[in-house]
Amino acid sequence: MTAISLPSLAGNARDLWKRGSASAWLRPPMIFGYVVLAFWIVAAVGVQWIAPYDPIKQVGERLLAPSGTHWFGTDALGRDVFSRTLYGARYSLPIAAVAIVVSVTIGSVLGAVAGYFGGWVDAVIMRIADMTMAFPAILLAMAVAASLGPGLNNALIAIVIVWWPIYARLMRGQVLSIKQREHVESAVAIGASGPRILFRHIVPQSLTPILVNATMDLGQVILLVASLSFLGLGALPPTPEWGAMITDGAKNFYQPWIAAAPGFAMLTIVLAINFIGDGLRDALDVKATRR
């Protein structure tokens, strides 16, 4: 077989769960990641039943320290920081997930087309990707968000513009490698159409590294959304988005709980996603599973 010559992460997405031993999927960091991610997903979905207070209404004295009544204290407008932190998941998680899904879709399709057809199509797509990647992600995202105006939807567009080239480059490399394989040459020999070969015989074989990368990137995108909001280019007031909450906290650093709560929320979720991403990469590693 030619498996040894394949990139270590290549493989059919449908086989993902068959790979690796059960222990690879249940390592302690991954279990931590599952639990924390599950907590935040539950928080995002059911926050209206979990949060003790309305996140945008004044519910107590301003700048109260954490107490039994207000677990994470109150902010400069007397809003409950715990409730706002929980509601923050409802903005950060879906936006990051949508940004990743859209970036993966756009990047993968363009990368696959560039890799399979080559020539000027490849040159044009990849030069655009190169130009985009030449800018530091945060600076380009800031520039795009600033030109579109503040708001979470515009932040989402900015992130997609910054992030798609990563997947285009990744997918192009996969396609270039897989299109030399025998089953692809066989499909060409029996007269299958280009799109059919690409999307039926090549792309499914290329998805594993994309999925692993996307998982790892989810945490980065959560941080990028928060960064844009921190800079005033993301969430608009009074949206309890974590980055915007940290901006509020920075104005009151003698009341550290205002910034600490959303900061801690981000820390836990990004850590959890990174653990899951790392575990996923290890579990799906062809060479690793052979050992």
């Binding site: 400069a76 503040p150 005033g232 608009l236 007031p237 920075a250 003698y254």
Partner: protein
């Protein structure tokens, strides 16, 4: 807790003393020698600065007021003890004729510029004409000036076409500092009618000054610092400090921290919340003093999306739906007051206007009457800045909550100040939040800026209240007030304040107290309605 607190002034002092000692040792001088180390006094002030220019006739900002006052003396000044009293400045005598159309200033023979040349009538004429002709933001202060005569070597006569009883107060404004015309002209400055295009001195003023104030400009680095040094030829009492540095420190928390550490001697924009942090700091003195500054929201039916605001009942409903007391408590920890009209508390005319009150029931009834029983959605773009301790972003979020209770959905878009200025200069925004500090001590400025009069402030451009952008009663009232003095003028300004309050397009939200926080050994830190803080009056306890 604060044993490390030593101001930079003392650090410099120590350095100078050490250097002097070292010099004495190296040169073998005896202790009894005549050489004496003179203490060098450097003052550092932390401030979020809004400077874009240092040209005294082009600048128009709160920091400009401080810097211009230090660099350029005016003909008359406001008494530090009583803001309603004017004192001699460069002019040792100043009089107005009976109908307030002619003002005569007799220059003090001792007055000199920083290059030791005398201040002459031609400099006064040139400076006032340049301010008027450069057509900058502060040029409105000289609206109506018809001519300036210089009949002799020490007299200046300023003429107006119509009565202007506010002029002597206006002359004390920091923007009316007198510039050395010979020096400035050498570097491209012009006072001619085409000065707005012919004058090329703005860049020169970024690194030089040509005034007769207690300080001269040493250096300016945008977004970093303005450094002033004492004017060696100052014609009045020389300033205590050898240098004064205004250092850019944007947020209140950092200002507080640097003051506590002794990195700065005065923090100019400490938040009221910080007062508690400073209570137990013996080396720092704090005081909350009444100010004439205020934040307000402007309702502009003429702006894109502002149609519902054309109905005065809707504007009244918005006014009644705001919980002012709670906002004062929340935003400035109670260190502030309510204000009834655009003429601020303490200014002539503000005395009889009722303060706004919170009445949700009345607001809902007014909205229903106006055809909006379920409210409506309206947008607001405003600058995300902290003005006089009031965070405009928090202010608007508090108002957003209040308006939600009567069904009005307020969509907030905080933007940088420059972006906001673009919006205001372009399509406008239905509701915005801004701030105002007086330029001088006369109430006319509030009518000129906020009243519905021809060539009024930006608000008038988008007001279109009931289809009109001019309220003739305000135009006539201002003309009358400027021709009056004493109790009659007070009555006229009271009527104007009520008229502007009844327009319901400017809603003052907070009249905050100023928090003065400085090293305990510094004296003279007082608030001036014309000039913010007079750096020349700052001193040290003996």
């Amino acid at each position: 807790m604060h044993t490390k607190q030593r101001s930079t002034r003392f650090k410099w002092r120590s350095l100078v003393a050490m250097a002097a000692t070292a010099t004495l040792l190296l040169t073998g001088c005896s202790v009894g020698a005549a050489t004496t180390a003179v203490a060098k006094h450097d003052l550092v002030i932390a401030r979020a600065m809004d400077l874009t220019t240092l040209d005294p006739d082009r600048g128009y900002c709160d920091t400009c007021q401080i810097v211009f006052t230090a660099l350029y003396d005016r003909l008359v000044i406001v008494s530090p003890e009583d803001s309603k009293t004017l004192q001699p400045g460069l002019a040792s005598t100043f009089t107005a004729n009976a109908d307030n159309t002619q003002f005569t200033f007799g220059l003090d023979p001792a007055a000199t510029f920083s290059d030791a040349s005398p201040v002459e009538p031609k400099d006064v004429k040139w400076s006032l004409e340049r301010l008027a002709n450069i057509k900058g933001s502060a040029s409105y202060l000289l609206a109506g000036m018809s001519s300036i005569d210089t009949p002799d070597a020490k007299t200046v006569v300023v003429n107006f076409a119509a009565p202007n009883s506010a002029f002597l107060a206006i002359v004390a404004a920091s923007y009316l500092g007198i510039v050395n015309s010979d020096v400035a002209s050498e570097h491209g400055a012009s006072a001619a009618a085409d000065a707005s295009t012919a004058d090329t001195a703005e860049d020169w003023f970024l690194s030089n000054s040509a005034g007769s104030g207690p300080y001269i400009l040493d250096s300016y680095t945008a977004n970093s610092a303005v450094k002033l040094t004492a004017n060696p030829n100052y014609w009045r009492t020389k300033p205590t400090f050898d240098t004064v540095t205004l250092k850019e420190v944007t947020d209140s928390s950092s200002q507080l921290q640097q003051l506590q550490q002794g990195d700065v001697d005065i923090a100019m924009q400490i938040s009221p919340d910080a007062l508690d942090q400073l209570k137990n700091t013996p080396t720092v003195t704090t005081a909350a003093v009444d100010s004439f500054n205020y934040t307000y929201i402007a309702l502009m039916p003429g702006a894109e999306g502002g149609a519902p605001l054309a109905d005065v009942r809707v504007r009244e409903a918005i006014k009644d739906a705001i919980d002012y007391d709670n906002i004062v408590k929340t935003l400035v920890a109670g260190y502030g007051k309510l204000q009834g009209s655009p003429i601020p508390n303490g200014f002539e005319g503000s005395e009889k206007v009722a303060l706004p009150s919170y009445d949700v029931t009345k607001a809902k009834a007014l909205l229903a009457e106006a055809g909006y029983p379920d409210g409506f959605t309206i947008s607001s773009t405003y600058p995300k800045i902290v003005a006089y301790g009031v965070d405009l972003d928090l202010q608007m979020q508090a108002i957003q909550q209040n308006l939600a209770s009567v069904g009005i959905t307020l969509e907030l878009t905080p933007v940088d100040f420059s972006q906001w200025a673009d919006v205001i200069g372009g399509k406008g925004t239905p509701i915005t939040a801004v701030y105002f500090a007086p330029d001088h001590t006369d109430s006319s400025q509030y009518v000129q800026y906020f009243g519905l009069i021809p060539n009024g402030g930006y608000v008038a451009n988008f007001a279109s209240l009931a289809g009109k952008t001019v309220n003739q009663a305000e135009v006539d009232g201002l003309t009358t007030a400027l021709a009056q003095t004493g109790a009659e003028r007070t009555a006229s300004y009271q009527a104007l304040a009520q008229l502007m309050a009844d327009d319901v397009n400017i809603l003052p939200i907070v009249n905050p107290q100023l928090i003065m926080a400085h090293a305990s050994d510094i004296t003279g830190v007082t608030y001036s309605p014309c000039c913010n803080v007079d750096l020349g009056a700052l001193g040290l306890t003996k």
